[in-house]
Symmetry: C2
Subunit: 384 residues, 2 copies
């Protein structure tokens, strides 16, 4: 029996939180910086400016102290009124979140149900739009984190735009930094993201970018903490409306610097390399990709073979190797595992995660030639 | 071409310094602890007590602020006088260091030359003793770091003891924590070690343990910084004679706690597992172990194939993967590489290092089925 490694520390292979590089982490230990000081305003302002190219927008994104769900809510609250017709794409847990938000705030929502592991087509979405009188907004994900399906928004959104001129709102929480985002070019009106995903920070910050058109269509709903216009005014000078998670902002500054220094194109390509290698390993192990037609570059979802218990497998990986791989949620519980390669993750991190998966699969009775997955990943890395 | 990984940080695979765990490292950031305070004395004292079982002695080792060479010098200075006859085993760079020290301090040294990569036999050493009138001390290594040969002192020293009653002095700098040490049981009179090896600390501290017999045979040489008797008196109360590297002592406290909590036997076994897996990988890659008859559990020395340039190979591993594997020294330069698995190193660390070695070998033109080394290591880990 392979005992839990003596000198292993916890490692994150779930689709957020992702590993935090030591310099990013250390920056967050500067607990004495006051958030109402010129020094801090400067850092805050710089973060917003550095976020802009990652969102592909000329309007610097807003930095909120909330989880990604808070950012989703802020967008829905600031851009829709009670009774507004909206179309919501639901291809998993996070599409369902848009749906729940829309219902909580009494929008008139038409839901596009997408089979788990698949991406929606423009036709499906436009059909839903056609069933409404006047659709205010379409809400969707760039990447459905719960299934590992990427929605190819670089082609999907332009297809929607041929027939739809309302607001298009994208939850890019788990796609940013792994998949390209050009919200201005693709005419997306709102993009939300979170610190603990591609940005390699702990959880606590979220980011929201709106198009000029969205800023021109603000709702009349009551709001306070998530009043985006108020944030925009203050953040132009680096002043958030409410107390920000200041140490996370200091970490963000370092993380963004690292990413832009490496080059955004390089970062995107790196994620593609990691995804390809992981997919090669999965196939070599005789397993199937759950999101085979739309695999994400942020995470690889793997179908657990019928004769294995997915929850046990994940528990074993955690107990033996201190690695946190995610499972499926709700009806996918025990049926898939989700292996992330998002953020500040190296090629060697991926090899380690695959090795742990192999050891655990073996102990759970899956038969294969041990090492064949890592070998396939290595050969993929050499070829890339 | 496999570019240097975007998000890779420097990693140590050289036989010291070894990786420092984050909690050990963080303990060393407590820069405000005064070294002349009761709190510090308590920590210092606890460290000495925790070192004792690792040395296998009832006499708590002394903690010096110096490199390992300083500790070697302290032992030679405190235990020999000018003109004393000593036998020095020279099987590489560190045996040579005993020789140089003995000569610098004008001992009458007889050198036992051991072929690089091999271990000395008791017969060779006793032959040298037989050529002297009265041998004061035998100086040797437990592990010759420069060649990766382990001297099996658990059998060698008892063999020597059958015919030799003088002092036996062992440099265990790179063997402690990886190989067992029972200095009282094996009747070893002095053991020296260093912080940046099996203890997982940065460099700066060294440790010296003397037997009761050694304490009874102190020399009359002049000495000051390395006056071990003076240290013994003060350190009984946690007070070092001179200003200690206090933050390293704070780190040491955490490292020793981790190690003893895991269990010393478990730590030793872990190193054996890592060494076996690394050796399996080397063979699978069609390479040869340099210290084939006496492989160390601290590091694996690998013979570089004739058609490859070992220095280029090491440079490539550094440049591409930010991993610091060591090369050969002096006449072994370019001919061997030394891959350490010492200290707070996990099984996954080893797989990563082997993967990097494979990628680099491939780029340098060595032909093999990429991934076969890591696969062999994984299979070895599963079998262990």
């Amino acid at each position: 029996m392979f005992e839990r490694d003596l000198f292993t520390t916890d490692r994150l292979y779930c689709p957020g939180p992702t590993p935090v590089p030591s310099d990013v982490s250390h920056a967050g230990t500067q607990t004495s910086m006051y958030h109402r000081s010129d020094d801090f305003y400067k850092v805050f302002r710089r973060c917003a400016d550095r976020l802009a190219p990652i969102f592909g927008t000329a309007n610097p994104p807003l930095i909120l102290t909330s989880s990604g769900t808070g950012a989703m809510e802020s967008v829905l609250v600031n851009l829709t009124d009670v009774g507004d017709e909206v179309v919501v794409v639901n291809g998993g847990k996070f599409g369902e979140r848009w749906e729940k938000l829309a219902k909580a705030y009494r929008c008139d929502a038409t839901v596009v149900a997408v089979e788990a592991g698949h991406a929606p087509t423009a036709e499906q979405i436009l059909d839903a739009v056609a069933r409404q009188r006047q659709t205010k907004a379409i809400f969707l994900q760039a990447n459905e984190t719960s299934t590992g399906a990427y929605y190819s928004i670089e082609t999907l959104v332009p297809q929607l735009r041929q027939k739809f001129s309302g607001l298009i709102i994208v939850d890019a929480i788990s796609s940013l930094c792994a998949h390209a985002m050009r919200m201005d070019e693709w005419q997306i009106d709102a993009v939300v993201a979170g610190s603990q995903k591609g940005f390699g920070l702990p959880p606590g910050l979220s980011f929201v970018a709106l198009s000029d058109r969205a800023w021109g269509q603000l709702s009349s709903r009551p709001r306070f903490y998530f009043d985006l216009l108020r944030e925009r005014k203050g953040q132009a000078d680096g002043r958030s409306a409410w107390t920000p998670a200041s140490t996370l902002v200091l970490s963000l500054d370092v993380a963004l610097h690292k990413m832009l220094e490496a080059g955004l194109d390089h970062v995107l390509e790196h994620h593609a390399t990691l995804a390809t290698a992981t997919q090669a390993a999965v196939k070599a192990l005789g397993l199937e990709l759950f999101a085979a037609t739309a695999p994400s570059r942020s995470l690889t979802s793997i179908t657990v073979p019928q004769d294995l218990d997915g929850q046990r497998l994940i528990k074993r990986i955690r107990q033996r190797f201190a690695m946190y791989v995610a499972g499926g949620q709700d009806e996918l519980k025990g049926k898939i595992i989700r292996f992330a390669h998002l953020g500040f993750v190296s090629r060697f991190d991926i090899l380690d995660g695959i090795a742990a998966l192999e050891f655990a699969l073996r102990e759970e009775g899956h038969r294969f030639d041990c090492g064949v997955g890592v070998k396939a990943a290595m050969q993929s890395l050499v070829l890339v």
